[in-house]
């Protein structure tokens, strides 16, 4: 009988790309790491796991779930085993995301101005005009430096053939970057020396890069701009992220009630009267941002903000109306956009997507539903989704009915298997499925992507859903030098 090995429960899964194992054994980027932990007694690993949880709790990296009156503090589940990416792979990812963002940004400017892409019939016009995130209010608004997508969190997955696919371009108010930063700082506490020994690239520049961009955007109007972060407040589940980013950048964290618009200029209410605001990094969704123009019942926004923005008196990051570019139905046209605007071939692949408004494609999807994922085009967080292989006949029938009522609001995609990576669960390494969300920053000087990102992991065995609202967790993500 051989001694205990942390790897003994790691079972091979057919048709799944494993980030750590190949047919030849452990993949080179993981070798160093595995040799450092494989002989640790299980009690030590469990100790590290507990330490990580304790650190999250005592640092208050938590969100509060309010039910039955008293708030309960929860931590976003963290798996201590890092996900490791080779430098060559990272370079490909970086180039692919830059290409995509450049194009999506041009697309947004085009859609909200001349609409050449519709006139040339590359993207069907009715798809755009039926998209609820398309804002007529943004037509002919000139945004500073023509940048719409200042912060993007592009979701990537790896299929069984080992190649990366883009699953979603999150261009509205993507979140999770604070977990990229915190996961790293927890990792060096629980695995001393392992980061430098493995030549892991640092992610700590993110707040500096973001701040530099925000300041540069504000310089269009004034030499010394005032930048604020607009948050919905402490009850928002991403509040920890908002306050962390504000603190790391040294900018004011404001709520809607702290701001007021006078004569199309935005001010914050201070102890010394009103102070002008030049740039707003907002973490409030479009529909809540100005009750005079969008949802009138919103208490999170600022009345009059839209007109101040439209007149160019304040910069808003990200721009309003970006949802038209990351709509799940419009997503399938991104490769065509890349060819149309840049005359290049896409570096990163798209997942094949069927438009359910198209009768032929819909019939195909209906006939093959058990091999499909059906998603609502304007929902996120793992809501409004059906995975055919795991659904009952009844669930499929309900979805079919809903689709027939409003086919534009649904798309179908073949089930992508998602690569697996080791997680430390119950004393052993076990494979779980992951995606990857790198964060890209688009400023007047160009696009920066810090080497790393948020690896989200589906902690339930066999699950393909990584969203935190559906029982997902996260991991530190190492990009090797």
């Amino acid at each position: 009988m051989s001694a205990y090995s942390i790897l003994e429960a790691y079972l091979e899964q057919p048709n799944v790309w494993d980030e750590m194992f190949s047919a030849e054994g452990i993949r080179p980027p993981y070798k160093n790491f595995v040799s450092a932990i494989e002989n640790l007694p299980p009690v030590e690993m469990t100790h590290k796991d507990d330490l990580a949880k304790k650190l999250f709790m005592s640092q208050g990296i938590t969100f509060t779930v309010y039910n039955s009156g008293e708030g309960i503090e929860k931590i976003f589940p963290f798996d201590i085993i890092p996900r490791i990416i080779r430098n060559e792979e990272w370079k490909l990812i970086e180039a692919g995301i830059k290409q995509r963002l450049k194009v999506l940004n041009v697309f947004l400017k085009d859609i909200y101005h001349e609409q050449f892409i519709l006139k040339d019939a590359i993207v069907p016009a009715d798809l755009i005009f039926s998209c609820p995130a398309f804002l007529r209010e943004m037509m002919n608004v000139n945004v500073p430096f023509d940048i719409y997508t200042h912060i993007a969190g592009v979701d990537l997955i790896r299929d069984s053939d080992g190649s990366f696919y883009v699953l979603e371009d999150n261009l509205r108010t993507p979140s999770g970057v604070s977990y990229m930063l915190e996961n790293r700082s927890i990792t060096y506490r629980i695995f001393p020396d392992l980061l430098p020994k493995n030549n892991v690239l640092s992610v700590k520049d993110y707040p500096d890069l973001l701040f530099k961009n925000l300041i540069n955007i504000g310089r269009q109007n004034t030499h010394d701009p005032t930048v604020v972060l607009l948050s919905p407040g402490i009850y928002n589940s991403a509040y920890f992220e908002h306050s962390t980013l504000a603190r790391l950048m040294g900018i004011e964290l404001v709520e809607g009630r702290d701001l007021v618009v006078d004569n199309h200029k935005v001010y914050m209410k201070t102890t010394k009267g009103l102070q002008k605001v030049d740039v707003i990094y907002r973490r409030v969704d479009d529909e809540f941002i100005d009750p005079l123009v969008f949802r009138p019942d919103s208490m999170l926004g600022v009345p009059g903000l839209y007109w101040a923005y439209r007149k160019g008196n304040v910069a808003i990051v990200n721009a309003m109306g970006n949802g038209v570019a990351d709509d799940k139905a419009i997503y399938s046209y991104v490769p065509d956009m890349i060819r149309y605007y840049l005359n290049e071939e896409p570096i990163l692949k798209n997942v094949p997507t069927y438009q359910l408004a198209n009768q032929e494609e819909r019939e195909f999807v209906f006939a093959n539903m058990e091999r499909m994922v059906i998603k609502k085009t304007n929902e996120s967080g793992g809501y409004g989704m059906l995975i055919g292989s795991a659904a009952t006949q009844k669930e499929m029938d309900t979805f079919k009915e809903d689709i027939l009522k409003d086919p534009r609001s649904f798309i179908g995609q073949p089930i992508i298997s998602l690569s697996s990576t080791p997680c430390y669960i119950n004393g052993f390494l076990q494979p779980r499925r992951v995606d990857l969300r790198p964060f890209a920053l688009y400023g007047p000087d160009g696009i920066d992507i810090v080497p790393g990102g948020l690896t989200r992991v589906a902690l339930k065995e066999g699950s393909l859903v990584v969203n935190s609202s559906q029982g997902g967790g996260s991991k530190d993500t190492w990009v090797l030098a």
Partner: protein
């Protein structure tokens, strides 16, 4: 500084000071109830911090455990230590970018500690004083961490204004709690142990005996807790600190706002500083304390109106 942030940080200072003050007075009251005072009554304390009607207080008076539960752990009592700490942490969370990470973690740890169910068990089955001491230590840790790590900007200023204003209110309340136990009979009750426990409750017992060398007179006790500016829990000391921190705000204020608050702080300080302690008529002292209390609330209201944008 944002008005909302200034207000939140001001209240953070107040809640934490109140937590510490309340714990100390609960601790002393418990000791005195166990020690030498026969028929000790918790009534004045319960009426001040228990959020209860007079009839409800009567039922609690017999059992220290019920009293601890009401004053420390009760979620329904908005003045309980539990709710003070929870609100402090909630306030800290809302202005996390204006306090240091160290201060935040300290409050966060306190919050997790007070929610620990073991604590209630310890108070029930072990020594309540150790539990209270432990909770007081968290307050000291917070005060030290704040002092060591916070930048001396506007945030620190509002935090301290809140802290010292609350301390003045606390001292006023503790004097009223302790003296109501002897029905404000200042002269007749010279020998009463309440005077000693008043000093204990305000961390002043040792200092008193250093100054007055064993000469125990109610007049001296009152002089110390009201007017001694070398004693950090006296009302005048606390007001001088409020004034000191407030003056730092001059350049960060609108002139009219500054003047209004400056006036009311100065007026309240004078009412303490120039009041002769030996000239109170019978029954007048309680009235004086009540007036003082309302002046302290006027200072708070004046901040709300002029600095926190609440009219």
């Amino acid at each position: 500084m944002l008005s909302r942030v200034a207000e939140t940080i001001f209240w953070l200072g107040r809640y934490m000071e109140r937590t510490n003050g309340m714990l100390q007075v609960i601790r002393t009251s418990y000791i005195s109830s166990q020690d030498e005072v026969s028929d000790y009554s918790w009534q004045p304390l319960l009426l001040t911090y228990g959020n209860l009607k007079k009839e409800a207080v009567k039922g609690l008076d017999e059992s220290s455990l019920l009293i601890f539960d009401q004053l420390i752990f009760n979620r329904e009592n908005p003045s309980s230590i539990f709710n003070n700490v929870t609100t402090s942490r909630e306030n800290a969370r809302a202005i996390q970018d204006h306090i240091t990470k160290e201060v935040w973690q300290c409050l966060n740890d306190y919050y997790h500690a007070i929610r620990d169910v073991q604590l209630e068990k310890q108070i029930k089955f072990a020594d309540p004083i150790s539990v209270i001491d432990n909770l007081i230590k968290y307050c000291f840790l917070y005060t030290g961490t704040m002092d060591m790590t916070m930048p001396r900007g506007e945030g620190f200023t509002y935090l301290n204004i809140g802290k010292f204003l609350e301390r003045a209110v606390l001292t006023t309340d503790v004097i009223r709690i302790k003296l109501s136990e002897i029905n404000y009979e200042l002269e007749e009750q010279e020998e009463a142990p309440e005077w000693k426990y008043l000093l204990y409750s305000l961390y002043g017992y040792e200092q008193y005996f250093k100054i007055y060398r064993g000469n125990f007179k109610p007049e001296f006790v009152l002089q110390m807790v009201l007017q001694n500016t070398f004693y950090p829990h006296s009302i005048l000391y606390s007001l001088e600190q409020v004034d000191l921190y407030f003056k730092r705000l001059r350049t960060a204020s609108l002139p009219a706002s500054y003047q209004e608050v400056e006036f009311i702080i100065g007026k309240t300080m004078n009412a303490v500083k120039y009041r002769k302690i030996d000239s109170f008529e019978p029954g007048e002292f309680n009235k004086y304390l009540l007036e003082l209390r309302s002046s302290l609330f006027q200072i708070a209201q004046s901040f709300s109106k002029n600095y926190f944008g609440i009219s």
